[in-house]
């Protein structure tokens, strides 16, 4: 038997349907792979018993002819999705011991379709980070190394990408606030997909910045992304920002035909100081799309350079409000002070429970929302955010999709950027604008740099037009022919 962990979701789906393999076999192979991959630190909680019972249920479903795309497929779940009775802490100490009494809609959708949960995946604390170095459970190692040097998997969905790139999950849930799906996908040679804001329910997702947070997927290729996205997406009355639009068959969009399509190349994304290899790969992407019959046109997104500073006002402001709920009263960590009162308990709990980056962002957010500063910072940022969204609106009147690099660098080593918050924030320079505008986007593995590390290209689409993003992603994937795999050094 071949290594079942190397199968893609679509391949496994077909083998399961034919009865060539069972979900139990597939799941057992993955449980063994997870056990052998502790060194990656992608899983912070393993759930083999749940996985096996879900696998048996999936096998029964398949036998009964009830199978859907994700039936019997073993996946990993980012720790910010609430899973009933199972560790859910967004990798923060402040949620110590928290086991939700409810299930997030995104994961419930997966279980309803018969998917199998292998465990909970590591991430930056509260999704605040671009390298997975802020997790309370320690950093995740990227399966891809720079020679003998370990590299970060990107963030915040570091466990999600490491599990999929490291063959310990066939797919993983992820979430994007400013690039937390696409940037780590780029760092690990995986396919990351972030849908339009409102496409997936946020119910049961630990909140970071509610106007930006959106669930998505990490898979090994575009088709798998389409299959998994279709499972997790959909209207949910339990999330007031979930939009009641039917979910198309994303896989059917993978026709490979982009003839006559217009692809925009934003001139503002030519960053000074960006590695030449990334510029060159972007250029290759342009040539690939042209060869497939698309028309490539230069576009302008004039407010691009203001996206990051806008994000670092809006996101911390919303975070400071969302994270006010962690007070040691209702769940999670509680630290008391001898002889102290309630306020002392709040302050001690939050001092002990939050990591440095989370504290920094809460304080920035508190400051920009405080009396006397609200207009100058927060209101100003919400106005610039509107201008950024208007830039995209104007561009999409002329083009069907936009092609850019996903990140300004390949994966870097541990500690290389963690001392300088601003250097770390720059990782998201190409992903943040679309997050601010709520647009769907993907990152497709497109090549390797001179150190043998993966680089991704990003496709952005119009609101609710995930199908075009999938379609163009599929064409890029086909043209790039990215088949490299990391060495399995951790096994």
């Amino acid at each position: 038997m071949t290594d079942l962990t190397k199968l893609k979701i679509a391949e496994a789906r077909d083998l399961l349907a034919k009865g060539d393999i069972t979900s139990r076999e597939l799941t057992e192979a993955h449980i063994a792979a997870v056990e052998a991959a502790d060194d990656l630190n992608a899983y912070i909680e393993k759930t083999p018993e749940i996985a096996l019972s879900q696998a048996d249920a999936a096998d029964a479903k398949i036998k009964a002819g009830d199978a859907k795309g994700m039936t019997g497929i073993p996946v990993g779940i980012k720790d910010l999705f609430s899973t009933k009775g199972v560790h859910t802490q967004a990798c923060s100490h402040i949620l110590e011991g928290f086991k939700p009494e409810y299930e997030s809609t995104v994961t419930q959708n997966l279980w309803d379709d018969g998917a199998v949960m292998l465990g909970k995946l590591n991430m930056d604390e509260f999704a605040m980070g671009s390298s997975n170095e802020t997790s309370f459970y320690g950093p995740v190692k990227n399966p891809w190394r720079r020679g003998d040097t370990d590299t970060v998997p990107g963030g915040s969905s570091g466990g999600s990408v490491a599990s999929v790139a490291g063959f310990t999950a066939m797919g993983a849930t992820a979430s994007d606030t400013g690039g937390s799906i696409r940037q780590p996908a780029s760092f690990t040679g995986t396919f990351g997909f972030k849908p339009t804001y409102g496409r997936c329910s946020r119910y049961g997702m630990v909140a970071f910045a509610s106007s930006l947070d959106q669930a998505g997927t990490i898979t090994r290729d575009v088709r798998d992304g389409a299959i998994m996205m279709e499972s997790i997406a959909g209207f949910d009355a339990k999330d007031s920002t979930s939009v009641d639009i039917s979910v198309p068959n994303f896989e059917a969009a993978l026709t490979g035909d982009i003839r006559g399509m217009k692809i925009g190349i934003p001139q503002e994304y030519h960053l000074a100081g960006m590695p030449g290899e990334i510029e060159a790969l972007w250029h290759k992407g342009i040539e690939w799309l042209k060869a497939a019959g698309a028309e490539v046109v230069d576009i302008n997104l004039p407010h691009t350079k203001y996206a990051l500073p806008t994000y670092y006002i809006v996101a911390p402001a919303e975070a400071s409000s969302n994270l006010a709920r962690y007070d040691g009263v209702r769940y999670g960590l509680r630290e008391t002070v001898d002889g102290g009162g309630l306020a002392d308990m709040y302050e001690a709990t939050r001092a002990a429970g939050f990591g440095d980056e989370v504290k920094r962002r809460i304080m920035i957010g508190t400051y920009v929302l405080s009396a006397g500063y609200y207009d100058a910072y927060y209101l100003k940022a919400q106005k610039v955010r509107q201008l950024i969204a208007d830039d995209f609106k104007r561009a999409f009147a002329k083009v069907d999709a936009i092609l850019t690099p996903t990140a300004p660098s390949a994966a870097f080593a541990f500690g290389e950027k963690s001392d300088d918050p601003l250097a770390m924030y720059l990782n998201d320079v190409f992903t943040v604008p679309a997050s601010l505008a709520g647009l769907p986007g993907s990152s497709i593995p497109a090549g390797l740099d001179s150190n043998g590390l993966p680089l991704g290209l990003q496709i952005l689409g119009k609101p609710w037009d995930e199908e075009t993003v999938f379609k163009v992603s599929g064409v890029l994937e086909e043209a790039a022919g990215f088949t490299s795999e990391p060495e399995l050094w951790w096994r």
Binding site: G97, F98, K99, P100, E101, Y197, G198, S211, L212, A237, S240, T241, D244, H303, Y306, P309, Y312, I313, A324, G328, V329, R330, Y331, G332, L333, R334, T336, G341, L342, D344, M345, E347, A348, R350, A351, K359, R360, I362, M363, I364, T366, Y367, S370, A376, Y377, L379, K380, A381, Q382, K383, V384, Q386, L387, A389, P421, L422, L436, A437, G438, P463
Partner: protein, 96 residues
């Protein structure tokens, strides 16, 4: 514009309900000033007559009938509480 000193950091920490040790105030002031100094480049953007974004998707919030559709879950609600007594969350004494 931003010139956050130790006293301001202490004030923000207090508003954020995060205990910050005295010796951490100064370094934090530096970090916050760096970040705020950087975001202040937004001042150069002309935003006259621009409405601040209130929702990223162009939809109206839904209405629903004002009726109870969930509840009676006291046990569930208290399940994760660090301390509960008589069906309530228990906290340190606040009234002398």
């Amino acid at each position: 514009m931003s010139n956050i000193d130790k006293a301001t950091v202490a004030k923000i920490a207090r508003l954020s309900r995060i205990k910050i040790e005295e010796d951490k105030l100064e370094p934090l002031a530096g970090e916050l000033n760096n970040i705020l100094g950087w975001v202040e480049q937004l001042e150069e953007v002309n935003t006259d007559n621009i409405e601040p974004m209130s929702s990223v998707v162009d939809v109206k919030l839904r209405w629903r009938t004002d009726e109870v559709n969930d509840g009676n879950k006291q046990e569930s609600v208290l399940k994760n509480a660090p301390n509960n007594e008589y069906g309530f969350f228990a906290v340190p004494k606040v009234i002398e």
